[in-house]
Subunit: 245 residues, 2 copies
Amino acid sequence: MAEKSWQAGPLRVRVMTRDEPPRERLTRDRIVDVALDQMAEQGYDAVSMRTVARALGTGPASLYAHVANKDELDQLVIDRIASLVELPEPDADTWRDQVRQLIRDMLAAYRAHPGSARAALATIPTGEGGLRVAEAMMAVLITGGVPPQAAAWFCDLAALYVSAIAAEESIWVERAKAAAAAGEPIDEQAMVERVRRVFASLPASAYPMLAGHAEAMTSGDGEERFEFGLDVLLAGLEAVAARMH
Amino acid sequence: MAEKSWQAGPLRVRVMTRDEPPRERLTRDRIVDVALDQMAEQGYDAVSMRTVARALGTGPASLYAHVANKDELDQLVIDRIASLVELPEPDADTWRDQVRQLIRDMLAAYRAHPGSARAALATIPTGEGGLRVAEAMMAVLITGGVPPQAAAWFCDLAALYVSAIAAEESIWVERAKAAAAAGEPIDEQAMVERVRRVFASLPASAYPMLAGHAEAMTSGDGEERFEFGLDVLLAGLEAVAARMH
DNA sequence: TCTACTTACGAACACCGTTCGTGTCAAGGT
DNA sequence: ACCTTGACACGAACGGTGTTCGTAAGTAGA
């Protein structure tokens, strides 16, 4: 207990206060912690200034002393997520696989916090976590003999690719969730099936290519398509790098 | 004039009404028209159910008779935008350039409606406009001798790439606009300069690669980087296609 | 002319990000 | 031991969002 006393007009006031409403002080880090947790559990759309504040036992206004914006908070969260991906030790023999794996790990990190990628699209990584990943990617590429300019731009391209894939995926998931909440629960399989049917039933007169290759257009799940993109990016990188000698 | 009469209790009521309060009937198409215009002039964020309704001289509730969602409206707008891009006549000799040009044109179409790409990321093109460009892209690729499976997945990849680029760009623009509205007007040049300074001042001990290649990391404007990505995608496509023989 | 049905829409709900002004509280100077 | 200062906390409110509800208006069929 702590004692406190003061003069209020003619009165002498003396009060005992419990010295632990152990409400810790607000911090950028604590705010980001909470936002990250909420994103992992409920997805990007469920994270708002209000929900974060509520989880911290306060109102939304309190956050603005530590964070300029929702935008800034988003960037901090993205940076934190980037700081969670495991980095490879550059090796000249396996650099191709290392690039692939690094990109896969970034995707996994985004997937663990659904919707986060939507905010990542906006970011040029200038925080600690992002720089860390960029540094590792550059190291692997340079070790692999990729010319610096190509390596630098490829970092950009890879980051764009992975966040676009993650963002697209999350929107899809979100939509399925919304459909499930209201009306018939539409699972992923059903949505794929519907798209497939659209392509299959296209009039061959107007869309000879799409109708003729409907099978190819709709084959492959997300993983297969992601790996295809990876193949294209890496093969393209080598070709372009060679051209830059 | 139109005459109308009815019995109201003991009274015979007779009324003349102007037969043209020329408020045309609401239509999906008219709604999409307005949304498209607003997006072209003010960007994605300025388009809301309310602003569209206001421009049509009504309230937001009226739109829901013709459009299920903001989401659906967005998709309709995207489809309309896609229907505006010019399509090439497939030619086996110049197919590479045709692919490039088609992708460039898609980017231009998105750019003409800033922010639209953020909605495009979500879409598997199943509307008329989207199918149209997918058909054209497939035709060019097949004419170029790309195996159907590779061509199909590449369509996906190209669409993802271009919408990701456009979305990233629009977010950047949006942010610059917001910064300009409140406080110092920060032009694009200044933002680039700041990023450059961050990279240049990175401690070489912690970030040897980024510090060592700061020049490469920050060189090139958006256009150059976009073209680099195009190079990578096309070179990669050819390599992967050859592998699929 | 009466009825059934589609279309239109004002009002309201539950959110959102952000700002304002006030309240609280610990540290420093006197 | 008091007073002052300044940083932090935060309730309330503003203006915006997407969406729903119940009712009005208009159209077409019987």
